[in-house]
């Protein structure tokens, strides 16, 4: 444990560093999916400021502040992490780098990977050099993930992978993919899956975007035709990929939930609504009431995310209860965007109109309660595993 004095020292140092290194353009404003810095070989930075901010943060390990220093992080403990969040929020700093490598593969590797794998894969993620995507769902296996059919045949030193994944977010921009592959077709469905890492530039990998109702093409279909995956590109044990996937789903849930304020940059909903309404327009009764409720719920859900992190630090992980965060967070985020649309009125009905991405962001939130396990699956997890209901 550190003394309060040491922690305050850290705070002062961090504050000075942020002041000197976080560009003004990377502070404030409402964050949206389109303003995220994703990194990777194919990423086009929106501005020099965005690139500078990512590189400067990476040099201090601040793109992945809680990862160990040897893997590219800053090695912050929970108390320091809280201070980091507070100081970032204080100046409204945007996240310098986000990616599925940070949110998902990283935690999986830190838990299941070998030292060599960690050294090999993690630092390029931390520096924003390699961008990952996820290959879980298949057309026939949506909520029922464990029924994946994409197969990997054992060819001695490699698996020969054939099949199709869907909802591979940003697969068209990613450099690598982590995927659930059926490597034993005889075993019960949860017991024959391996968690493989595949280079998107390998021969036989093809991907194409799926056009969404929001117009954006974030999601893709990805096809594997006779793709050779070397044996060392497995995380965890052969045919035990489901354990990795389950562990990872928890992280995905927490990530997607965003504590109910994911994309809001911590700003009060009502304040954003007031802006949207324009001069002289008062918030109508039902809208104001809904905004108040949503704000109350979002603040409490955000606190719950923090509480679960505190618990994890104390050694008691959320486990199945993380399904709760995913459910509450995504449902709230949908509500929030419904309210933003209502407050925007007709200005919000135009693609790239006076409110920019607002309608696309709104439609995009509708996927939140589907991807990474639907709300219905989350409720079933809670009811079965937490409450012990059901046969």
């Amino acid at each position: 444990m550190q003394s309060n004095q040491e922690l305050e020292g850290f705070r002062v140092e961090l504050r000075d560093w942020l002041e000197a290194n976080c560009p003004a353009e990377m502070r404030g404003g409402e964050a949206s999916e389109s303003s995220i810095c994703w990194g990777g070989k194919n990423f086009e930075f929106a501005s020099d400021a965005q690139r500078d901010w990512m590189e400067r943060a990476a040099s201090k390990g601040y793109t992945v502040p809680t990862w160990p220093v040897e893997y590219g992080g800053a090695g912050l403990n929970r108390a320091q992490e809280k201070i980091f969040k507070e100081e970032m929020d204080r100046i409204g700093a945007r996240s310098p780098l986000d990616s599925f490598g940070i949110w998902m593969l990283g935690p999986a590797l830190l838990h299941f990977g070998s030292h060599e794998q960690k050294l090999h894969y993690l630092p390029p993620i931390a520096r924003g050099e390699i961008r990952w995507c996820q290959g879980y769902s298949e057309p026939g296996a949506g909520s029922d993930l464990a029924s994946v059919q994409t197969k990997g045949e054992d060819k001695g030193d490699h698996w020969l992978v054939n099949g199709q994944k869907i909802w591979t977010s940003y697969a068209d921009k990613a450099d690598w993919i982590f995927a659930l592959i059926r490597t034993d077709r005889e075993a019960p469905k949860h017991k024959g899956i391996s968690f493989l890492l595949i280079n998107m530039e390998d021969a036989g990998v093809e991907t194409r975007p799926i056009k969404l109702i929001s117009g954006a093409s974030v999601f893709c279909e990805t096809f594997f035709t006779d793709v050779k995956v070397p044996k060392h590109q497995i995380v965890g044990t052969e045919n035990r990929g489901w354990d990795v996937a389950k562990y990872l789903l928890t992280h995905e849930r927490e990530m997607i939930s965003g504590g109910g304020q994911g994309l809001s940059g911590g700003r009060a909903l009502g304040a954003v609504l007031n802006e949207s309404l324009g001069e002289g327009q008062e918030m109508e009764t039902t809208l104001r009431a809904d905004a108040m409720r949503c704000e109350v719920d979002a603040l409490a859900t955000g606190l719950t995310l923090e509480r679960y992190k505190d618990q994890a630090e104390a050694g008691t992980g959320a486990g199945d209860a993380s399904a709760m965060l995913k459910y509450m967070g995504t449902e709230l985020n949908k509500q929030r965007h419904e309210l933003l649309m209502a407050a925007g009125g007709s200005d919000a009905l135009e693609w790239d109109g006076p409110l920019g991405n607002r309608p696309a962001d709104w439609l995009r939130t509708k996927a939140n309660s589907i991807e990474g396990g639907t709300s219905e699956v989350m409720l079933s997890i809670v009811s079965r595993r937490v409450l012990g209901l059901g046969a």
Binding site: G142, I210, K211, L212, G278, Q281, S346, E350, E376
Partner: protein
């Protein structure tokens, strides 16, 4: 109290409309139109006019079929089910109602042109992001025997392609409604790229000339003409949204019966069953408010305002529930542009805002109920 069951005539009208639309305007037709970047199908509108739809509220003396507001609601409902794009609400409902509340030869002529499908209209009322006709700030300044109009309108539905505009502007002692051609000098129309892929425009008026002839009804008293027109539009829009809800719901229930997960069709999961059943109940309740509004507009139009607001409020909340549940129950596929359910969600959002949102109408109901 009016009889709330559909009459035999109405049922026949609905069946006929369905038959026509299933052939000529399934959701696929909307998709094709959108993919082609178009917001109007002139040929179909002509066919609708030939069937008497364009003249549904035009007196027979002017060549209309004069079927009334309930019948207009029946048509709007059927169109809503398959997201039919047409100038029906703007022209056949709103403009026709405004015009028939003016008894002069000019209005009679305009009504005749509506009935034949030879003219389309758009209502230019909104100036801010929320519906609020009373707060109009666009000015019509007296000049000689006429006026000069200057100002901006937004969210003018069907406004980019309409032949004529109904424009609300402030005059010396009140508001005045003008009926002018959309290509008159000084008018600049900017088409909006709407999420529902329908026609809407921002329109600038720069010192646009209007004669006394262009005034619909009396100077300074737009509302005697505009109020019934707006109410008619709100009721028909509510009917369209109820149809939209039914369409989205039908698609969703069909998907529940077909999609398999965890070894069974998802319609076997009780949690989804109860949510679908609840949604059906909401749709049924809204249907009553819709037919009631249509009846009152036909039978007692001066006292229909609460019934109309009730219908629009219910239609809005029901449609939003229907499309939200629809997308969620479809899962991933519901998020794709290739699947139709998303179209319903986008149209529902536009319908929610047009001519007053949920809060606007719920407040109207509360006001008329004394609180």
């Amino acid at each position: 109290m009016a009889n709330l069951v559909m009459t035999e005539d109405e049922t026949m009208l609905a069946d006929a409309a369905r038959g026509f639309l299933d052939k000529s305007a399934p959701v696929k037709a909307f998709r094709d139109l959108r993919d082609a970047g178009k917001t109007h199908d002139a040929k179909m509108w002509k066919e609708m006019a030939d069937m008497g739809w364009a003249g549904v509220l035009v007196p027979e003396s002017a060549g209309g079929s004069d079927m009334g507001h309930a019948a207009a609601g029946v048509l709007a409902h059927e169109m809503g089910k398959t997201l039919v794009v047409s100038p029906f609400l703007s022209t056949a409902v709103i403009a026709a109602t405004a015009l028939r509340n003016v008894s002069d030869a000019r209005a009679e002529k305009a009504l005749a042109a509506i009935a034949t499908g030879d003219v389309t209209y758009a209502l230019a009322v909104d100036e801010t992001s929320k519906f609020n006709p009373e707060a109009t700030s666009m000015v019509a300044t007296r000049e000689g025997n006429g006026f000069r109009l200057s100002g901006k309108k937004t969210f003018v539905v069907d406004g980019a392609l309409a032949d004529r505009l109904l424009v609300l502007a402030k005059t010396d002692d009140g508001l005045t409604l003008f009926d002018i051609p959309a290509d008159r000098a000084g008018i600049t129309r900017n088409a909006q790229n709407m999420i529902d892929a329908r026609d809407s425009a921002r329109i600038d008026f720069d010192n646009v000339e209007a004669t006394g002839e262009d005034v619909l009804g009396q100077v300074d008293s737009a509302m005697s003409v505009l109020k019934p027109a707006i109410e008619a539009g709100q009721a028909a829009l509510a009917a369209e949204m109820a149809g939209l809800s039914a369409g989205a719901f039908g698609m969703t229930v069909a998907y529940l019966k077909e999609r398999k997960q965890f070894g069974t069709v998802i319609g076997n999961f009780q949690a989804l069953q109860h949510r679908a059943a609840h949604l059906w109940c909401e749709i049924e309740v809204t249907a009553s408010a819709i037919v009631n509004a249509g009846r009152l507009l036909d039978e007692d139009p001066d006292n229909a305002i609460m019934a109309v607001s009730l219908a629009k409020a219910r239609a809005t909340s029901t449609a939003q529930l229907a499309v939200q549940e629809g997308v969620q129950m479809h899962g991933g596929i519901g998020m794709t542009d290739a699947y139709d359910i998303g179209f319903y969600m986008k149209r529902a959002r536009v319908g929610a805002e047009w001519l007053g949102d949920y809060g606007y109408h719920a407040n109207q109901v509360a006001k008329h109920r004394g609180f």
